[in-house]
Symmetry: C2
Subunit: 198 residues, 2 copies
Amino acid sequence: MATGGLEIEQLIMLLARLPGLGPRSARRAVLHLIKKKEGLMIPLSAALDRAVAAVTVCEVCGNVDTRSPCGICADPRRNESGLLIVVEDVADLWALERAGVGAVKYHVLGGVLSPLDGVGPDDLAIDSLVHRAGEFSEIVLAVNATVEGQTTAHYITDRLQGLGVRVTRLAHGVPVGGELDYLDEGTLSQALKARTAI
Amino acid sequence: MATGGLEIEQLIMLLARLPGLGPRSARRAVLHLIKKKEGLMIPLSAALDRAVAAVTVCEVCGNVDTRSPCGICADPRRNESGLLIVVEDVADLWALERAGVGAVKYHVLGGVLSPLDGVGPDDLAIDSLVHRAGEFSEIVLAVNATVEGQTTAHYITDRLQGLGVRVTRLAHGVPVGGELDYLDEGTLSQALKARTAI
């Protein structure tokens, strides 16, 4: 292939491995980068170098940050609520932070139990969750509403029993702005069961 | 925002400026990079550094490569056909190379004439095309079949008149594997006019 030199081919190949990008969009991205060399390619290269050097995983909660304990774990104001939110992934933690759920702390499991994929309790940050659970008054299991997520939630609930901490899960219901017509029956019946006074 | 440190935020912001990526997919990409730090993030960072240092634009044809003249312009076997293919963009050049169109040479215009966007002949590599056109026996105007593309093709055809070089364009017709039912009338009538013996 004579489409640019080896350096360009390698860059395309690596970018194509990012989620949401394929070979075609990676080529477009690289051409865009080359066109905007001063304004985008060089800053991106520098930002990536800095991130490689700085990024670390928080040893307390599993969040991704430039220090460990991370900014959230190190923030004393976040102790007051006594709320620990357990999530599958750092992306879920970021989503909850964007939603502005308040001065809470998090625990990132790093996945869900999935016997078919060979993911057992030892592959997730469950021991460390049990270890720190006593510091909180309530543990919210904010795992995805999938079969694996619910299995993981049940397993964690069992492990947390006897520690004297309240264990809850997120409410099921109609998404804000959602149309009833497009919702599945499970969500609708849960939303009806959990109806609240206006 | 407490979603990771400043380094991570900057990386997300820059990645979100790539075509095909937005803030959401850039966040996913950065999390994926951090998870695969050794296998993907560090190699990508190194590849980007190398590309920044190596990439240049060919002064003859406008292709992107790690040397100038580029690998295509420097290849003596590509002189034999006497064919010069004029494209709007480097992406089109790459697409033709992937299609294996043979031992041809290229000329990248860097866009199309577009008075509304303030793009005139001087903003495109048209003078340099006229300058090198005499070296070839045929110039193929492989611009997009858009109004701007066709306007540009007409302008270039006018400029090349009197140089004794044959000027052609790509054939219109049914895409290979395409279904007639989904084709627009313009393409269908062109395909019928240009019908060939089986």
